[in-house]
Symmetry: C2
Subunit: 229 residues, 2 copies
């Protein structure tokens, strides 16, 4: 399998973690979506990442179709390591939280901060590169506190975020939180349950490659790869 991704994309990290949790080897290819490569658009007309080239060379586009595909082809065989619960109502709750972290947190916070602080350094000026827009960053940062409070509440009332055992909801949340943490955007004081939960997530072997990621122009916050932060 080949995964077309960017290291600081939450939907892409979500897929990388799922692959690692299920022990699926995939070759990583960095795809800058703003370049709109014709070969990439032929695989995914939406022009978005992640795209996973799966069995038979068929490209699968989007975090949600890819996650369901991995559950159907890998999860069902993983038994107690499956990242989706068995019952439809519980599965709906896991999917709600996956959407929360991969779609809503992404739209409210993560996408704007990554674009302004990381992607714009790599983009040519004519495609939107250049100095960060401080208004966009301020708007995104204004939403972080409420999201952290919700994460803290979830982590404090349940063993894992979406189900009695670890599920795709934790993987999605870990993917998004790890990017915000890299950028030093998370104030961990005052959210001890969220912090405990993230400590457990970080120490999973699937997280190791993510904690080794570095992007040009922005070094991670000092505790980023520290398992006991």
């Amino acid at each position: 399998m080949i995964l077309h991704h960017m290291p600081m994309s939450a939907p892409c990290r979500f897929v990388r973690l799922l692959l690692a949790e299920y022990g699926v080897e995939a070759q990583l290819h960095e795809e800058r979506p703003w370049e709109r490569r014709p070969e990439f658009l032929a695989m995914n007309p939406a022009g978005t990442i992640p795209v996973l080239v799966a069995e038979a060379g068929v490209p699968l586009s989007g975090a949600h179709p890819i996650a369901e595909y991995l559950d159907e082809t890998r999860g069902v065989m993983a038994r107690e390591r499956r990242l989706m619960p068995d019952y439809p109502l519980e599965r709906a709750e896991v999917r709600r939280l996956v959407d929360w972290f991969i779609v809503k947190l992404e739209a409210d916070v993560t996408r704007a901060l990554v674009r302004e602080r990381i992607d714009k350094l790599a983009m040519p000026a004519e495609l939107g590169g250049g100095a960060p827009d401080s208004g966009a960053m301020r708007a995104a940062r204004a939403n972080i506190r409420q999201h952290l409070r919700y994460l803290n509440w979830l982590a404090g009332t349940r063993d894992w975020l979406g189900a009695p055992s670890i599920s795709a909801a934790d993987i999605a949340a870990g993917a998004a939180v790890s990017i915000l943490d890299y950028m030093g955007e998370i104030d961990w004081s005052g959210v001890p349950q969220a912090r405990d939960w993230y400590t457990r997530m970080k120490s999973r072997p699937s997280f190791r490659p993510l904690l080794a990621d570095r992007v040009r122009g922005l070094t991670p916050v000092s505790h980023y790869a520290d398992l006991d932060f």
Copy 2:
């Protein structure tokens, strides 16, 4: 079951059509998300529609979790009327297209036009109501043509949009297209395959309640409910 919805929301129409296709009776409750009713936020902290109150009074939030839940609890028993194909790669293609129409077309076109032309008539001024923003409408309309061309291409190269038989991809596309058509935003000339496909969709019994919908302040285009338009 109770569906909290708005008549001119594509994700909500998607769920109404799925329920009707599977013969599930649901009571409809109109929920104006901008009012942020505490009872509604308690069901779905994201504050978004649709929310389906399912078995045992458990609220399911979001078009994607609801659609998967209906597939798991109704679709699997519907045999050849199931709206998801049997094979994982085909299922991934259907989900990609559901995302296309319910997430991407929604973000590129539908949400802005519904907000400016319909929702703002019902919103109090302090919550964003008032005159439509012509810049936002222009930006949305600039994206319609390309979406219609893609729909026409899909309809022209396949019997149905996502799979050899009708699937959730057609239901999602029909949901979104019906709203744009209500508002008279679709120029059907030059996209004959899309038109043929939509004629077939419109004549399904599941569509009847949608074609009878009317919203305050905007009468539908004359051919909206016409099965042979």
